[in-house]
Subunit: 266 residues, 2 copies
């Protein structure tokens, strides 16, 4: 079993659709499990009993702050069809809901290519990995264990915020892989869209930017190798900001797209 | 009561959280109620008992084709907090689920402006309305009743598909308002993001492009007047395509953003 599969594993109980999980202390940012990691745990549970192997569309609303440790996952099948199936998945801790997700499952392909892409739209350009900036878990202000699991090599152009000089472009670009060097599967893509520094840090002073809603469309099974991730925000307004993420695999193929709505850091 | 409020009205039953609705024959494309219209009905039910008046983030998975006529809406409160609340809403017909949505409600503002926008990103440019192409409900291939309710004035540059010559840009731009000329409220924005011709029609031959998942982030209460809507797709791959919509009000303010994942027309 790979490190990622182990950290996101779920245990069925005697009750159909009810699972217990241990939210892993290794996938934490600040004191909270990473949102993409939580989604990977939930969707793994949802797919265990599904005739369709992959998450195609995942939407999630974050209800209350998650904590490391034991939790319960409830899966309800909403519809199981010939080519897709849809499940509702709820994460509960201490008797209350932490996160509710809905997933439509299907079959994703590996290695084919887009039959059409928007003119000018394609894999984000990144400097060579050796010219990018690695992110360590050992940073001022406290450890970021997630970055012992996830390896980022960020385009240094996007890192002005680290020196107190955000560029004002609202965009972060990075190489991405699991430190274990295992190939990212479609569940790992749920982490990839949500593990870069918030794009709004390229606009204003870093701070906690809690996600309210996150939707991920998984477009293909990635080829092995480093992924390219670009995140950006379009608009900061009335205390809210959006963040889009696009992810391409080592073959230049679009593998995931996401959008989230988050509070503006205080 | 406005025409839109009437068409999207819901009737509480003796059971808390259970509503009956009549899906209106006037908000139909082909033989099916418009997806954005369905969302407006569901979210109206969800907000009736909420301390927070507006939908901020709405995500929806389409389970089976809806039909005109009577239906049931079930609302479950997942969390009610001081500044936001989250509800699960299910539309059922004939005993099975048609659509499941989750909405996070809050308070949206009217008339303020973005504190930051991505460089180069702003209200889509459109020709004057009198130089744009109106869409009639009376088209070859059958009536499109939706366009007796919703008035589009599409940028003629995007309408090559109507003459069998899609441009290959995958983008549709249009003016948008309710024919009743009532101001669009945040629920009407759920219709606005989902009522232009599919952007993929600007790439390949028109056809039925069923939506699997649709997420809408509502960013502000629109000022009265015409809205500007731009939709585009980035990637057609393995039988799926994404569609993004951005909506601005008459004051040039971003009021809604959406993304959906749909099947490619056959």
């Amino acid at each position: 079993m790979t490190a990622f599969a182990r950290a996101t594993s779920v245990r069925p109980t005697a009750t159909p659709g009810l699972f217990t999980v241990d939210l892993d202390a290794g996938w934490v940012v600040g004191e909270r499990p990473n949102g993409g990691y939580l989604l990977a745990v939930l969707i793994r549970a949802a797919l265990l009993g599904s005739p369709h192997p992959h998450p195609v569309a995942v939407s999630a609303h974050f209800l209350s702050p998650p904590a490391i440790g034991s939790a319960t996952v409830r899966v309800v099948a909403l519809r199981e069809g010939r080519s897709t199936a849809t499940y509702r998945v709820t994460l509960e801790q201490g008797g209350s809901g932490v996160l509710e997700a809905t997933v439509t499952a299907g079959v994703l392909e590996l290695g084919s290519s887009a039959s059409w892409a928007r003119p000018g739209w394609g894999p984000v350009e990144l400097p060579a990995r050796e010219d990018c900036t690695p992110v360590s878990s050992d940073v001022p202000g406290g450890p970021l264990p997630l970055f012992d699991q996830v390896e980022l090599r960020i385009d240094p152009e996007c890192l002005g915020f680290a020196a107190g000089r955000p560029r004002g472009r609202g965009e972060i670009r990075s190489w991405w892989r699991l430190r274990s060097d295992e190939a990212a599967d479609p569940l790992a893509l749920l982490v990839a869209v949500d593990s870069l520094p918030p794009a709004i840090w390229d606009v204003r002073a870093p701070g906690w930017a809690p996600t309210v809603e996150l939707t991920v469309h998984v477009r293909a099974v990635p080829q092995p190798g480093w992924l390219r991730v670009r995140t950006y925000t379009t608009t900061v307004q009335d205390g809210w900001n959006d963040e889009v993420a696009d992810v391409w695999d080592s073959g230049g193929r679009l593998v995931a797209q996401s959008r989230q709505l988050a509070r503006v850091p205080r």
